[in-house]
Point group: C2
Chain length 329, copies 2
């Protein structure tokens, strides 16, 4: 298994911020007195569900696509993605006027797959599982010659995702704990780099579904674990962390908190009903860590990345109706 | 039937804005390139779903409660409400430290009734229908001596709701059409007063469910119509317009557009899935007017008030699953 180290530093994140500024939103930060009162903390929700393409993924994808030289760009870009990175790459490629191919596993959200197509990329189906995704992508680029922009194990992507923390810490001063979901690890790794540079004492915590807990397992063992079989409603977090991501996470992330499926679903509902923002289940994983009490935050100022909002209402509602857990504020 | 004329003018709205500024949010304005491309227009969504209490109603309620003299305030306030005004009045009363009573019809949303209770008001149930609501409220205030803050037929409330337009026209310059839902008419009346003062040429359009179309019927007949029987998923728009509201609407509103139930439901879904904001069906009524083509807006700059976001996800999802209509952008 290849083990590449990331070279991403705060300067790379700042350069990414300049590069993507013309294309992405500086998303708002929302707060909730009711939520704060319940937890005895101050929460600052970074609303990446309002980002271009409905998820933070635009940050990394635009940074990668606009980092390419002219000749390389002209051959197009390709990736594998459960959805949001694919959509973001399609948008970035369309904006640069180059072709994009996206390998999408068959268990991905149909809602997300349709977005990738709508944004103009060609969708190539594959079987689920990280090995299948990577094998299909390798075969594809051999055919079409496109440049791979990996959904997370890519320094340009990691640096782009880190701009989320750069903005959040400027928008909400005094944050002493940064909380984000972890799937492949691009978001938490980039944010950890940036946050630790801005505020060396900040705590950085990743939240992960117990049904796809490769990051937690990796932290326990002290080496990167890859899982072929995962099971979680948080469809954006089914990937296993990449080697570059692990090189940053293992050094900069303080803790990984695992949450259960019903906690994710109940937290999604509460975000919709209390914050009035549509977030997808992957984005509710950090909220589940807070609401379940698995991550105590009393007295702290917590930055929470709401990573995306690409979800089909009815599908999720079906899960809500069978969920036996309800969080209350 | 009593027929009071409103005295609300732009100065009253500006005074309300100053009075409520310490208590309410200056809500954000969202845009959607996808939505704009589809309609060939520029839309500016005023997100009152993020307002204190989850709806624009806080504006009118805080203005009314903080307009009261000390002695009057001390006896408390009372109202009838399908939900959002009751919650807003409860919040305003709690903030001023005075009691609040809210008459709630039995067909009101349980989600909204629980919010009223959570905010500390006493809930009094009544049968549905505007006459029943008003009779129960009259009996109640005779008992408790509280001051009635009517949900819409009250100049302090109308002036407060008008601050929505004051903010929106400052946040999104160049708007030439203002679109808001109409139920009792507080929002559209206050907004019409303010918008016409700021921009005399602006078009002001009200959107109304066909199943509760008293405003449309009133415009047709040239006199105020009250309906006892209404049927719409837009639970915030079941009330009939008040006499003060009518005195403004009949003079300042250009057009009332009616929409069907399935259009409301399909528009709600699209707001959730595309704008990523949770809005309640009442707030989707203006969107339904746009998406259905009943209100052509090509080439225009349209301010749209998303009036509130107090909705139980599962209940609405059940409606979505049986809705035969789907709008696509």
């Amino acid at each position: 298994m290849a083990s590449e180290l990331s070279q991403v530093d705060a300067a790379a994140v700042r350069a990414a911020a300049d590069r993507i500024a013309p294309f992405v939103h500086r998303t708002p930060v929302h707060t909730s007195r009711r939520w704060d009162d319940h937890l005895g903390a101050r929460l600052f929700f970074k609303c990446e569900n309002f980002q271009v393409g409905g998820a933070f993924k635009a940050r990394g994808a635009f940074n990668a696509v606009w980092s390419l030289g002219e000749q390389e760009a002209a051959r197009g870009v390709a990736t594998h993605s459960s959805g949001n990175h694919g959509a973001a790459l399609a948008l970035a490629a369309a904006r640069r006027g180059i072709p994009a191919w996206v390998v999408v596993p068959r268990d991905a959200s149909g809602f997300k797959r349709r977005a990738i197509e709508r944004y103009g990329a060609r969708v190539v189906a594959c079987e689920p599982g990280i090995s299948n995704r990577e094998a299909r992508l390798a075969a594809l680029v051999e055919d079409c010659g496109a440049t791979v922009v990996h959904p997370y194990d890519d320094d340009r992507v990691i640096a782009g995702q880190g701009t989320t923390a750069l903005e959040l810490l400027a928008q909400a001063p005094g944050i002493d704990l940064l909380l984000a979901p972890v799937g492949g690890g691009g978001l938490i790794a980039g944010c950890a780099v940036m946050a630790r540079d801005l505020r060396p004492d900040i705590a950085v915590v990743a939240a992960e579904p117990a049904g796809a807990d490769d990051c937690w397992q990796s932290m326990q063992r002290g080496e990167r674990v890859r899982l072929e079989q995962v099971d979680t409603v948080a469809d954006g977090l089914r990937a296993s962390i990449g080697s570059r991501n692990w090189s940053l996470i293992s050094r900069l992330v303080d803790e990984v908190v695992r949450v259960e499926e019903e906690e994710i679903i109940a937290a999604t509902r509460l975000a919709w009903e209390v914050l009035k923002v549509v977030i997808e289940p992957s984005s509710a994983v950090p909220l589940a860590a807070l609401l379940s009490g698995r991550l105590p935050v009393r007295g702290r100022r917590v930055g929470v990345v709401l990573s995306g909002g690409n979800v089909e209402v009815e599908g999720l509602a079906g899960r809500l109706s069978t969920c036996g857990l309800e969080f209350r504020l």
